[in-house]
């Protein structure tokens, strides 16, 4: 029996997973324990292991495709099995996409079966739909799509495993006819059937053609990744349930910038390169001793004050990995030195951007820092990362005209904006916290102890 690999459930809450990268190819041998794929869950990117030895007969789900847990994603031929026959036995209509190279050995001496010539329209449509495995579509949905000349590759299936079902095609037919009726100059998600183009063209021709002064932007749809869904859900929940307010303060960064420069010069040989953010992480963490409510969570009938200080650091992910952001957790940041914080931040940021963080590397933060300073942002506000009670949004440390000792001078300044949960923290408390933070940032030697 061939082995079917299915989308694994990699966390308790995982319902869907996206294949980020296949580490195997069709025809390749896999051994038990090998990492066959990187899977993006709602929380993290994780590795999928093979549990059996065999030959990869067929990859069923392409990279970048999201499927529900349990969906078959690849077929493995066991010892003594012919991977090609497994690949070809896998469902109807797949021959065009099963681009397996003939394996050497007995299989190659058999006379290849010539492709069957057919005038069936379905055979002509099939090859275009299959860049990432066969598009799942119910038979009647396929028939209706053909009848109405709907391009199924533009549809999102609402059935199990993204199967396109009757209602999806009917909705597209409706949209198509609505668009024709409205004669919008928009890109249609569907093609209008030939028989319907006559009235459509008539309608189109009566509208003023759009003058093309600039290159037109294309209307398109982007599928929502698991991460994007998680971000959407959590932030809507945060912004709509937490009574947010902001308190802002400017810090003089002269001493800190000087100290940082000096430390980095002296420690360069040891590979240490401290960022401004590393100082802020440490300062925020140390300030918790005096201000425990900033390291707390609202719990309905009580406030949970956390005994450990885990500072979350927001990390943006590169566009080519689908963008989005994660919050890496620097655990016990109040007990860690600047160089430890620095090393850990770098490690987590690199890992997040390269292959994604594990769930435990993102959980249990008690306070979060979001820093857009490296993009030259002056100041901004952030949305609280539940169950935190506060988030600090840091702008860039910039050289500014400043007043020092009643004199106009040039100095380094940074703006920091706290977003707070008013259920836990009142304005004066926020002001006092920022005051403590200001003290640490402006006298950064305290952060070295």
């Amino acid at each position: 029996m061939s082995i079917t690999l299915t989308m694994p459930r990699l966390s308790d809450t995982m319902e869907q997973g996206t294949i980020i990268r296949w580490n195997i190819k069709e025809g390749q041998e896999v051994l038990s324990g090998a990492i066959v794929a990187d899977i993006e869950t709602d929380k993290a990117t994780m590795e999928m292991q093979a549990y059996d030895d065999g030959i990869v007969a067929k990859i069923l789900v392409g990279e970048g495709t999201q499927v529900p847990v349990g969906t078959p994603i690849a077929m493995i031929a066991e010892e003594g099995e012919d991977p090609q026959s497994i690949a070809s036995s896998d469902g109807e209509g797949q021959k065009s996409t099963a681009a397996t190279t003939p394996a050497p050995g007995p299989a190659s001496i058999e006379t290849p079966i010539p492709p069957v010539a057919t005038s069936d329209t379905t055979a002509q449509v099939a090859p275009e739909t299959t860049s990432v495995g066969r598009r799942k579509i119910s038979p009647v949905a396929r028939r209706l799509a053909e009848e109405h000349a709907i391009d199924v590759s533009a549809l999102t299936g609402s059935g199990p495993g993204g199967r396109i079902v009757k209602r999806d095609v009917l909705a597209a037919v409706e949209t198509a006819s609505a668009n024709v009726a409205g004669a919008a100059g928009d890109v249609l998600p569907v093609q209008i059937p030939t028989v319907a183009t006559a009235p459509a063209q008539t309608l189109m021709s009566t509208t003023t053609p759009m003058v093309q002064h600039v290159p037109a932007l294309e209307s398109t749809e982007v599928p929502v990744s698991g991460m994007r869904q998680t971000i959407a859900r959590r932030l809507v929940e945060s912004k709509s349930t937490i009574p947010h307010y902001q308190v802002k303060m400017r810090f003089s960064m002269d001493t800190l910038m000087e100290l940082r420069k000096s430390l980095n010069e002296k420690l360069a040989a040891e590979g240490v390169k401290l960022s401004v953010n590393d100082f802020i992480v440490r300062a925020c963490a140390l300030s918790m001793a005096e201000h425990p409510m900033f390291n707390a969570s609202w719990a309905g009938d009580r406030i949970l004050i956390h005994g450990r200080v885990n500072v979350g650091v927001a990390i943006s992910l590169p566009e080519e990995r689908g963008g989005g952001l994660v919050v890496a957790s620097i655990r016990d940041a109040n007990l860690k030195s600047l160089r430890m914080i620095s090393a850990e931040s770098k490690h987590l940021a690199t890992k997040a951007r390269d292959k994604g963080l594990a769930t435990e590397e993102m959980s249990d933060s008690t306070f979060t820092i979001s820093n857009l300073g490296m993009f030259g942002v002056d100041d901004f506000t952030a949305i609280i990362n539940p169950p935190n009670s506060a988030i600090l949004a840091c702008g860039a440390a910039l050289e500014q005209p400043v007043v020092r000792d009643h004199q106009l001078a040039v100095g380094w300044e940074m703006s920091a904006t706290l977003s707070l949960d008013h259920r836990v923290i009142d304005g004066a408390m926020a002001a006092r916290y920022l005051g403590t933070l200001k003290g640490m940032i402006e006298e950064p030697m305290r952060l070295l102890a």
């Binding site: 119910s138 038979p139 009647v140 949905a141 396929r142 028939r143 609402s158 059935g159 079902v165 209602r167």
Partner: protein, 328 residues
């Protein structure tokens, strides 16, 4: 036209008496059919009307009297065999399966076997596992027989009359749970042809196909689903052999969905056969694979609550319909 409302059991008796008056070769035999008026009072008064030569009490020996009736049928009579329950037909497996359906074939056309075997089939209500058989799964597998399974009193009369006039062995499956059901039954000659399914409730979203008692479960489910805006077309197949696949196909081509409801177990059943045929005929019309609702794959439970849950009840049907329509 008067709306004559009678019970299912009276409709069965009307068919038998009507045919016995018409054809002197027809007779009834079985346990307690004569002096006791039938274990379920289906043959009430028939002994008085037709006398002991045509209404015959038998010993408790299904194998014996079924074999005797088959012999009589081969030689020109038209017996009706009543099994108190189809569960008891299992001890008569050899005559009813190895002789009756094969006789015409094996004798090269010399001997037919125009026999009707009728009795209660399926869960009667806490009769336990050995007395609650749904034999349609096993027996419909055999070529050479016909299988009729009425769900309404008028069909009980019309289909039994047709069965008696049929020249092949007819396995006629009644339900103890339906015997007291009342409904309009035409007076006088009334024949319902075999192989003609009937749409019991028209609908647009999904086709429910069933036979016998579960047709009522389907109608209940359809009523419930209508409140959710789901329109079910309910087809009463009436006969399993011959199967009216045409009516089913016609409906599925319209609704694009199909749920088959069958009170027998799922493995190798009329339900699986209907599903296979619908897949073959309606492949390009289906929006989902054909779903099946059967009795659970366990011996039928005795406990009343478990028996209800075991049956292909309206709730389970509604779940299957929602799933078939991707609204689960």
């Amino acid at each position: 036209m008067s709306e004559r409302i009678i019970e299912f059991r009276d409709a069965l008796r009307e068919a038998m008496t009507q045919e016995m008056h018409r054809d002197p070769r027809v007779f009834l035999l079985g346990e307690e059919v004569a002096q006791y008026d039938g274990a379920y009072k289906v043959s009430r008064g028939m002994l008085e009307e037709f006398g002991p030569r045509r209404i015959i009490d038998t010993p408790i020996s299904e194998s014996g009297f079924a074999g005797m009736a088959i012999g009589a049928a081969m030689l020109g009579l038209r017996p009706i065999v009543e099994f108190m329950s189809w569960s008891f037909s299992l001890v008569a497996a050899d005559p009813i399966l190895n002789n009756a359906p094969k006789m015409l074939y094996m004798s090269g056309g010399q001997f037919g076997c125009p026999i009707v075997i009728r009795g209660n089939d399926g869960a009667g209500g806490q009769l336990g596992s050995t007395h609650s058989w749904c034999v349609e799964g096993m027996f419909s597998n055999v070529p050479g027989l016909k299988m009729a399974i009425p769900a309404f009193p008028d069909d009980a009369k019309g289909m039994l009359a047709t069965a008696i006039r049929d020249d092949d062995p007819v396995f006629f499956l009644e339900s103890e749970r339906l015997l007291a059901m009342k409904g309009h039954v035409p007076e006088g000659d009334h024949y319902v042809p075999f192989g003609k399914a009937v749409v019991r409730r028209p609908g647009t979203d999904v086709t429910l196909v069933s036979f016998g008692r579960p047709v009522h479960f389907c109608l209940d489910a359809a009523e419930e689903l209508a409140k959710e805006g789901i329109s079910c077309e309910v087809i009463d197949g009436r006969t399993i052999r011959p199967l009216d696949i045409d009516t089913i196909v016609q409906s599925v081509r319209k609704t694009n969905g199909c749920v088959v409801v069958d009170q027998s177990w799922s493995f190798g059943s009329p339900g699986s056969e209907v599903a296979a045929q619908v897949h073959a005929h309606c492949f390009d019309d289906l929006d989902n694979h054909v779903m099946r609702v059967h009795s659970s794959d366990v011996p039928s439970p005795y406990a009343a609550n478990l028996e209800q849950e075991f049956l292909p009840n309206a709730r389970r049907i509604a779940e299957a319909v929602r799933s078939a329509l991707y609204v689960a």
